[in-house]
Each structure stands twice: as C-alpha cells, then as structure tokens.
Symmetry: C2
C-alpha cells in the first residue's frame, strides 16, 4: 500500500500558538485516494530540524507532504532547505505563480514588493503546482529510490489552511499520475445522544462478530455525537463496499433512531435536509447558545432556503420584549426552565413566521448555576404545527464544549421530534 | 533547557477524522513553564507503532506526554503497551480513580459496567494523577537515565480535549516537582486589518535591529488578525522581560491603532473590555455572519454583563419586520449595502435598547455574488450615541473563513470607531 507522511513546519505549531488543522484535512484526502498516512510530525523553523524531519519522512513513506514555512516574511527558511535537499543549484522564478501574485495583490490594492516577487522563486529541481488563491506556490520534488530507499514524491505546501485545502486536489492528481494506488474503504455511522460506554455495551455482540480485516473505531465529539467508523483494507472496491453495507446495516438496526446519518454529515446538515424535504422553514431563539445554533445552521451553504433568522435573547429583556415571554414565567420558573424555552420557541416561530423553531436556555458556565440547576444545565424546545416538545440535559464540560453540545443536542431534539411526528 | 515531546495516539488522527487540538494546548502550557517542545508526532493505535514512537520520544526529549488511546472501548491498546514499556508485571486498580468513575456514571445515570471499572486499572509501576472529570486516569512513569539516555518522565493522558485541558496543571505540577526548569519568554502583539506582507514592510527596519537572541514570528489568522510573536531564550526573567518591553514598545509605536492587544487576547475580548470600561451594552444584527458575531461575543464568560442579544436576519423579511429596514432600501441598494447595514445597526440598537450595536450583511459564498459585489463582499456598520459608521471589505476565502473574518472585522471596526470617538 502506498504510504504518506505529513510534516508541519513552524515554531508556532511547536509552541502551540496555532492548532494544526492542515494535517487532518490532507490526511482525509489521502485516505479517500487509497493512501495510508503512517506518520504525522511537526518540526521547528530551524534548517537542521526541517532537513532531518523531511529525510526521516522520506525514509518512512513514499509520499511526504509538508505544510508551512513558506510565508513572505523573514521567519521562513523552508525553501532554502528544500533547495539543498533537492540538489538544486539555484532558484528560478515561476512565471505562472508570478501572474497569480500580481492578480492577488492588485485585487487587494496592495503594492508589489520584493518579498512578494520572491515568493514565485523556487528551487530549479522542482515542479511548480500553482497556488491559485495564495502567493506561495506548491513545490513538487521527485527522489529516486537510491536516495532514501523509495520512489519518493515530496510536496511542499503553504501553511495557510484555506490555501492548503484549495490546492490538495491538485496534489492528489499529481500523486495519482505517479503511483498505482491501492484502496482503503471507510464507512462512518453517526449517532447522537448515547454515551460511548453505553454504545459499546449495546453493540458488543455485533462487534465480536466482525471479521479480522474490519476495524471499528469510536469517535466522540460534542457536536457530531459518537461516530462509529468501520474500515476495511486490502479488498476490491466491490467486496469492500458489500462488506461495509452488510455490517453497517446490522449496526444501524441495533442503534435505531440514535443514528442520524452516515459519512461526512452532521446534525446541522441533517436538519437542513429534513427541512428541504418538507419545503419548510426554521428559526431559533437562543439564550445560552448565544448565536451558535444559528451559526451551525448557517454554516451550510444554501441554508438561506430554510433558515430565516434567530433572536439571540441573552438578556431577559429581549426574551420578554422581542420573543413575548411573560415576565411572570421568568419570575416563577426562571429563564432556564421548560416553561421559558417553550414560550421562546413558540414566540420566535410566530414572530418570524417559520414552520418550525428551536430554542435554548441554560447555564454554559464556568460560573453560575444552583444545586437544582447546576452549570451545564440546558433546557431546549422545538416547536412546529403539531406542537412543542421540551427536554433537558446536563453537560459537564468547559463553556465552549457546553455551548457546542447544547446547540447540537437541540438540533438532535428537532430531528427526533420531527421524525416522530411530534412537532 | 528541559525539553518535551508530545505524542498523539490514534488512527482517528492519522486518517484525519479528528483534528488534534491537545498538542497545541499542552505545548502552550509547557512553554509557559519554561519547557521547550522539540517534537510533536502522531502514531496509529498499533502496539508496535505506539512503543516505537514513545521510545523515540523518550530518546529525543526529557519529558514525553501522550494523549489518546485510553477510551473505555475496544480500540484502545495504549495501556498494555505502557505496561510492557514500564516493565510492570500486572495491573493494579486505582482507588481514587474508581471513586471518580462511580461519581461520574451515577451523575449521568449510567450503569457501571466492567469496561468502566477497568478504566481504573493501571500498570503497577506508574503513579496515578486522578482525572477529575473523566473516567481514564493520567498515568505517570519515570525512566532512569540508563534506559533511554535521559532522566525521563512519561505522562499518558486521555484524548478527550476537555479532560486533557483540565488535567494539564496537575501534570505541570508533577514536572515542576521533578526538574529544575529554565525559562522561555514570549510577547505577542496582536494586530488587525493589515496584510502580512504590508506589515512586514512596515517593520522591516525595526526587525533588522533585533538582537540575535530575539526571534520574531508572524501568525496570521482570520479571527485574530496577524499576531507578531517575539521570543527570547536563555536569559533571566528580569532581563528577558525588559528586552521584550523595549522591543514591543517600539513595535507598537510603528503599528499605531492596528494593534488591538497583547498576549492571549482576541477582538471579542477587547470589545467586551471596552464595553465594561464604559459600563455600556451592545447588540448585533447579523445577516451573512448568521449568529457567529453573537457567538464570538458570548464565547467570553461574563459577556451577559454587556451583550444583550442579536437579531439574526438571514431572510429579508426579518430585516424588514424585526429590524425596521425599509423594503425601499433593499430594493434600491440591495441587502448587501452601506444603506442596509446602517439601518440594521440603528434598528437593532433601538429595538434592544443597547448603547452600541454592530451589523453585517454580505456574501459568504461559495456561490452568489455579482461583478459589483463578488463572493466575499461584506458591508458592516457600528452604531452608538455619536453616530453610525459603515465600511466594506472583500475576503477571498472559504465560506467558513469568510464568516470568521467578517465577524472579526466588524468587531475591529467597532473598536476603532469607539476609540476614535465616532460612535
């Protein structure tokens, strides 16, 4: 099986000032193409460290993809290290990349400086893959088996995540042109609302029945729930897909309505699909989620077809004046109550004129709460033509994760209630 | 200088199904303590890979911190690998962790299963650091210099980010009890609204004047702007801080009002501080940011003291009916216009009764837009007792990044306009 290493370059990674999202993105793309990522590593901006790390990667895997270390500013020395590694004697200027740099700078009304021009310079022994939306080009190097023991391709990509993401398909195409690739097949079953250990107990017998070449992994996440990933290596596409079909069907049977989807989906995408199928619209009324629920819904391109808006009623005055919650209800039951979220959901649905609505009110933390309603308590409601459903939960996590789990749980309540015909 | 490696364990990292945020978090904590992170690596869930990688880390650095591979389910084999590595003959059950597991499960009303109990089992040669908010304990191992060439400490932490984050201070305390530590000092100057290459040109002379032991790095981010990080190694605290004071003061002089803060801050924190200083309140009216601006503001604990709410007016009907934008304005200038965002900001400020307000309307993409208003166009407004200011920009990125940059740019317009006395 063709293998790859991913190497991120930059002190900012090692000192933790930025989180590396490129490696995960690149790895997903490589996996889908049938390349197994065997190694991920980060190194500092020092020339020696860059060279040592890249050489180690070249020995460990066929393909090496580096990100970072290519910005226009002075802390970047990757390009010079690559010049030495590839035995290039001098730099050459990529005409294609130079054109792109000119266009980007003129669109941003930024004057062209020498440091911008120098970004189009690459070691003479490399093939340039133009970076269509950024100034630093992607550099491709080929190493013969005599050099590091493998027929290696090395790609050096910029570190800015959206530039990397846009360029990955071009890199994949270059890889496919060079190697004859095997396949890996994955199937991911997405569940929400059941704890990992309970899930594990529920599917214990099923799991014991899996064949040797089928691997199961649990992937818990506050927004995505617990996803169960089945992987199969070393079969044909047909056999692999059939095997995955069979085992995922029996798995879904066991899990029932805890399963909200398969593959690269999420609760907000599923909510959107349910609304589009019904030609329906939705609004939200948010207290503790503070706009995050609306953000999840509007993260999806085209969500304007079904999402009309949200009233983020952080202050009780907004709950009362804009959503029509009675001051009486808040006084009697508190803002974090079944009664309040019911009025919020019904209020926003009426005010914005949507088919359905979702509301949240809770205590995201870190401080606040009472013994009866501790930090992490959420009340949520979903409302529609058939009625309103309310529910509660307690999430024992950080403010950030509590907000994420609150929003995703409200979306899941919407899905279950809608499918069950309760709203 | 005492050094550390961080090793994440799990196929889900290598296949890119999850993004590793633990390494950055742990690295920040280690750096602050004066430990230099020299190596970050990810390995698969295979026993051989785990052992090889941890051994390599032990040879490369004094401290090794692993995360992941400790869940209650069957894909976890880290603990057995650590048993072999530490020469432990058997497992022992940690009584402290067992108590915590009982409390967590009973609070979540989950039945105690064997797989839960087994989480309290650890190799006999390890010291347990209890995981106060999760079921898998932190395991600490000590290796004599004879084993891997260093006086090593190895910590195995769970992979769930909020559990890791909560346990890091306990791990740092154990490290401080064991080693005599040197110091690294960082200073980060946060700027917004100037492109990296322009910034670099602006500070070129200043940068050339930096002494050898002072390192500068550029950290661009859609929400945080371009942060400039100064690092100094190998001095006393007093000398290091004085040096950083001197150079950051001259840097801030050059950059003027593009600087919005220092260190671990962000535009939403700064906006909150400005509001608290003035005992003022704020509301938002959001179209293209879809609740993300409200989310950034409410991400900050205690934001309920100044943030009252948001009207997410995704559909024009909400702009008209709830915010009072005239249909005439939308017909004549479009929803993405200076005129519309002005009315949105003024409308939400009046409706929610806040001192200030911020509004956004734009085209986040990936589709939509016109030649005059391409994808990535944002109009934004900020309003207050002294008036309303509008501004526009074009962000050429993905939908996700455009939304992030839009929200952060609106917060930056608020900061600049407020400080300049325009609103």
């Amino acid at each position: 099986m063709t293998t790859a290493s991913i190497c991120t370059i930059g002190d900012e990674i090692l000192i933790g000032q930025i989180t590396d999202t490129n490696s995960a993105f690149i790895s997903r793309a490589l996996n889908k193409t049938g390349i197994k990522v065997v190694y991920m590593v980060s190194c500092s901006d020092s020339r020696k460290d860059i060279l040592d790390t890249i050489k180690r990667c070249l020995r460990k895997s066929d393909i090496v993809i580096t990100t970072g270390g290519l910005g226009p500013t002075k802390d970047d020395i990757t390009k010079n290290a690559l010049m030495a590694l590839s035995g290039s004697k001098k730099m050459r200027r990529s005409r294609k990349q130079m054109e792109i740099i000119k266009n980007i700078l003129s669109a941003r009304k930024i004057e062209m400086l020498d440091i911008n021009r120098m970004q189009a310079d690459v070691p003479e022994n490399c093939t340039v893959i133009p970076n269509k939306i950024g100034t630093a080009p992607i550099m491709q190097f080929h190493f013969q088996k005599e050099q590091f023991g493998r027929d290696n391709l090395l790609f050096s990509m910029p570190g800015v995540p959206f530039e990397t993401e846009r360029a990955v398909p071009d890199v994949i195409a270059a890889i496919q042109a060079h190697y004859k690739l095997d396949k890996i097949f994955h199937r991911t079953i997405c569940t929400f609302g059941i704890a990992e250990s309970v899930l594990s107990k529920m599917i214990e017998n099923w799991e014991d029945s899996l064949p040797e070449n089928l691997h199961l992994a649990y992937l818990p996440n506050p927004i995505l729930g617990v996803r169960l990933r089945l992987s199969i290596y070393g079969t044909t596409q047909k056999e692999g897909e059939e095997e995955l079909d069979r085992y995922s069907a029996s798995l879904k049977q066991i899990l029932g309505d805890a399963v909200y989807g398969e593959g690269e989906t999420n609760p907000q995408t599923v909510a959107g699909e349910l609304l589009l199928e019904r030609n329906a619209t939705i609004s939200t009324a948010e207290s503790c989620t503070g706009g995050y629920l609306a953000h999840l819904l509007t993260e999806i391109p085209g969500s304007s077809r079904y999402f009309w808006g949200s009233v983020v009623s952080y202050d009780n005055s907004v709950k009362i004046n804009t959503l029509g919650v009675s001051p009486e209800t808040i006084r009697k039951y508190g803002a974090v109550s079944s009664q309040c979220v019911r009025l919020m959901a019904e209020g926003v649905r009426k005010k914005l004129g949507t088919t359905y609505s979702i509301s949240t009110s809770g205590i995201a933390g870190p401080s606040g709460g009472t013994p009866a309603k501790p930090v992490g308590t959420l009340w949520m409601a979903v409302s529609g033509p058939k009625g309103t459903v309310t529910a509660t939960l307690v999430s024992k996590s950080t403010r950030k994760i509590n907000i994420e789990r609150f929003a995703a749980s409200a979306l899941d309540l919407f899905r279950r209630s809608l499918i069950a015909g309760k709203i």
